[in-house]
Symmetry: C2
Subunit: 448 residues, 2 copies
């Protein structure tokens, strides 16, 4: 956690009942939000929150973790929520409205609909689309405006818009025709027309229905700080700022990691109870329990071989553990490569061929090592061969399964991250055990 000392100090001052107005002058609202989360009870949080002037309280609300935000909203009147969201940028306001109960949202909307029609408009978009993360506050100018006219127009709006990095230039139909960064505006002659300041080269923008992950990739690829969003007719309807995209990137990374281990992104939320957390994590455990039963059942099919040679049991953890590790590596590489855009779908065949080669190499090294170990430990050359060959084959299968399963999921338009960890692992345990006992049983007469 950043700036531990600072946050502790603010929390101490909140506990001591320092006046909210003087607090927001001394500290950044992001730090006050963290301090608020540290307080001992929801009552203390509510009391501290209510003591903060509404404009800064609105910002703090936007910084709070979902859990604490919901808690505060649940205990606030529709009137107060309405006043708070008029202080916020339209995207944050829409997020807050989307997170409260429908009847409260409706009450709030009635009270603010005159001042904040854009917030109502934003609620129609899918939360994970460009429309869902954009804000309507932006600086635009028609192409025939001069630099002077544009700056004059900006003067009245700066307070409301907040950060301005670019002026978006539009035509007579409000269609986006170009982007002028402020550094260009500031250095241009006062009577220059905006349309003449627009740079050459392709124009980068998002459409309202574009997926937020794609929006994030646009920001990364073209090193953007702000991106215009247009509707189906090419009309400028909003903008997305880099700080919202940073949140998207982090959330997507957390989501992918959590899916890999079979948990939910919400499981990172510190405010949840043990019971809620257990519920998030249980579905994947249930699937790994079922997979375990099946693998166990398969093992018992080889009861005869096991009775004759108990030592076989000792190799189950090796086969399962090592090939499980290989399959998790392979599937994670594909999933992460797809998510970051580093994976080149044109090179699918060569990627697959390489993965098979990797499987062969890893299988050969681990196979020989385990064969030697089995030979030395159990004194049976034949057992060494069985263990080595089985591990070699199991690792090759693991590399192939780990690569193919996420690609298959992607192909049928299911998030490949879901296919990561647990599912690949379960399938892999099964193949590994089948290969090992299959070979061991067919060679059992040489083993005992």
């Amino acid at each position: 956690m950043l700036n531990e000392g600072l946050v502790s100090q603010i929390a101490e001052e909140l506990r001591g009942g320092r006046d909210g107005a003087s607090l927001v002058e001394a500290y950044h609202t992001a730090d006050i939000a963290s301090a608020l989360e540290r307080l001992e009870s929801d009552e203390a949080r509510i009391a501290a929150f209510d003591a903060i002037p509404e404009e800064e309280a609105a910002e703090i609300l936007a910084y709070l973790d979902d859990h604490y935000r919901s808690m505060i909203l649940e205990r606030s009147s529709a009137g107060k929520i309405g006043r708070i969201i008029t202080h916020l940028d339209s995207d944050d306001a829409a997020d807050i409205l989307a997170s409260v109960d429908d009847d409260i949202a409706e009450k709030v909307l009635r009270s603010v609909s005159d001042e904040a029609p854009e917030v109502v408009a934003l609620l129609q978009y899918d939360e994970e689309s460009a429309g869902g993360i954009m804000q309507t506050e932006l600086m635009s100018a028609p192409g025939h405006f001069t630099v002077r006219q544009t700056i004059d127009a900006m003067a009245g709006k700066e307070e409301e818009i907040g950060d301005i990095h670019n002026v978006f230039v539009t035509d007579a139909q409000q269609r986006l025709v170009g982007v002028v960064p402020l550094r260009k505006l500031i250095l241009a002659a006062q009577d220059k027309k905006m349309r003449d300041l627009v740079g050459e080269g392709p124009l980068v923008y998002a459409t309202t229905e574009m997926d937020q992950e794609k929006v994030a990739q646009l920001f990364k690829r073209y090193d953007l700080v702000s991106l215009p969003v247009v509707d189906g007719d090419g009309r400028l309807t909003g903008r997305i700022l880099i700080d919202d995209v940073v949140d998207v990137l982090e959330d997507e990374a957390s989501e992918d990691i959590m899916k890999l281990v079979g948990a939910n992104e919400e499981a990172l939320d510190a405010g949840r109870s043990a019971l809620q957390m257990a519920r998030y994590r249980l579905p994947w455990l249930a699937s790994s329990l079922v997979a375990g039963f099946i693998t166990g059942g398969v093992i018992l099919q080889f009861e005869g071989a096991l009775k004759e040679l108990v030592a076989l049991t000792a190799f189950i953890p090796i086969i399962m553990g090592v090939s499980g590790n290989v399959s998790t590596q392979s599937s994670t590489l594909v999933i992460r490569g797809l998510a970051t855009g580093k994976f080149n779908p044109e090179a699918l065949t060569s990627y697959f061929v390489r993965e098979v080669k990797i499987g062969v190499t890893l299988g050969a090294v681990c196979g020989v090592a385990s064969a030697l170990f089995a030979l030395i430990w159990q004194g049976s050359p034949m057992l060494g061969v069985v263990v080595g060959v089985s591990l070699f084959l199991a690792i090759m299968c693991a590399a192939i399964l780990g690569t193919i399963i996420p690609l298959f999921f992607r192909w049928v338009n299911i998030d490949p991250a879901i296919a990561g960890g647990p599912m690949v692992l379960a399938l892999n345990d099964l193949t590994g055990v089948l290969i090992f006992f299959g070979i061991a049983t067919s060679l059992i007469s040489y083993l005992i």
Copy 2:
């Protein structure tokens, strides 16, 4: 991958030998870089790269994946590298110099040291520190400058600096005293002094030796697009832009994910050979191989029990699989929580207590399920009890180990992500097997 069609089209034009100068006018250099990576051979990549005008070639080099960048640099003369890096921002130039062989770097440095002393200066900083990712190109103004003077000064430097979002205001000793965003500058009266434009509230900056992960957290926390960097005496020495931080965030996330599965971040690099990839992945496999041998050895200590009751074998995958899943979930939650700063170190005890509660809940649910299954499957109530109690205890241990191990690593200042996946998993397999066979052996007379 973003904009598949566009990249394929550019690659097609590169293959067709389209003139480099017209290419860079039509497309963004980021897209040309992706297209270059798609070409069939290194020879084709070199030929296409050499045909592109040097200024844009420099940008393309900065966009290329490490692997391809090294390949091109290895085959370029020191003179050409020197010319290329003079076109780049100082941070990108320093990165390139740091990535080539020492003798080439020295040659290049001699040829550019007059024009680019700042690049040489940047090489002294640790690659993962604020100094290592900052650039020296920035816009600063002394506090006594007027707005007019500042804008005039900017006019001569805009080309060299590139993106400008803020003017950093300094005192007579070059010490940072404040930050003025361009939107404030553009709207201020021309004769206003810069020092009077500096906002109130705490000043956010990095020191050169600050870790890049901490820098990234500053950007996230305070929604920054550019951050001033000061030396030990508080003098302004550079700035960091958000697009470099986005790369840091993504790299750190990839690094964490790769460590979780026991691979290297380099394993995401598409240009590596199968042998290199295998080498990256082998160390973790080796450790899981050793862990498997140990667990296997422990199992054979219970040979007697296994001989009397082969059915015990069938429950090894369940115990190992389910409790392994729990430990991976617990450790991943702690590791990701620490990395994103969502984990509140003040609440350590309450987090731990909650994790134990979660372990108990998950253990109880899975324990009962597996006990019922064992009872129905094997028709032995006592075996049901043994399996259920073992799984309950194994899951509790898994939750506790998964939480404690990463925290312990953090406490001794080792990256907790290393302690994730494989290590926790190996320890967990061992405890699970010990618990299960320990209980089963002591109750063996009731089981058969």
